[in-house]
Amino acid sequence: MASSIRVRATSNGDITEVQALIQHPMDTGLVKDPKGELIPAHYIQQLKFEWNGKDVFVADWGTAVSKDPYVKFSFKGAKKGDELKISWTDNKGGSDTTTAKIA
């Protein structure tokens, strides 16, 4: 199945800009479904970006992050062709990981 993580990592000069969009419902546990029953909380809790064995960026998320969450940041030191490892885990123990080459 295609990964749930879409990443775009582009480097210019010493700075690499990273954008990620993740396919995930991010249910808060406070919303009712059409039958009136509470949809249980189901949200990504931690998202990690690893380069060269080091966590360059770690996101701790609560239930207020939008559905199909998006995040953008940039970091120094990497160059074209380097690999970036992205992984997330959610409150139901679900997880996914992918790697992306810096363009």
Partner: protein, 163 residues
């Protein structure tokens, strides 16, 4: 839309509620245990995300209070086009930044997101948050051990003519 009212539905609701809370708790116990072995500051700030209001969340997360600073630039719309997807971003000229967090004061749980910034990572983040209603939005930056903050009011209402 038939809603199964009466005792059966409420019992199932309570059971479901209890189950998901237990799961939440359970789900985290081993999680925190394993991550304890990983870098200390990697632990998911479970407590902080449970706090209702903004001050308690900041205390639970950082254990100190923040002072407003114009070196923290918080960008968010004046009127959100939709409460479910509000683009929010922050940049700062402070250096030695180790953490950035976003808090939505009027949400059921104030802390929305918290980021750990490694050495060499630029202290600027954009993300999309949910806001329950018109609210104060707070960005916290931890730089060199001290906390700085910026706030912005965001108006949120539903759209359309109601039906």
């Amino acid at each position: 839309m038939t809603t199964t009212t009466g005792p059966v539905a409420t019992r199932r609701l309570i059971l479901q509620g209890a189950a998901s809370v237990a799961l939440l708790g359970l789900g985290n116990l081993p999680f925190t245990a394993t991550s304890a072995r990983a870098a200390a500051n990697d632990k998911y700030p479970e407590e902080a995300f449970k706090q209702k209001n903004e001050a308690d969340a900041i205390k639970a997360l950082y254990g100190k209070t923040a002072e407003p600073s114009d070196k923290v630039k918080l960008d968010a719309p004046e009127i959100a086009e939709n409460g479910g997807v509000v683009p929010v971003s922050v940049t700062t000229t402070l250096d030695k930044v180790s953490s950035i967090s976003f808090l939505v004061a009027e949400n059921p749980y104030a802390l929305a997101a918290s980021y750990k910034i490694a050495e060499g990572t630029i202290p600027a983040i954009a993300n999309r948050l949910k806001m329950a209603k018109s609210t104060k939005l707070v960005a916290i930056v931890e730089a060199d051990g001290k906390l700085y903050s910026a706030t912005k009011e965001v108006k949120v209402t539903v759209g359309g003519c109601g039906g």
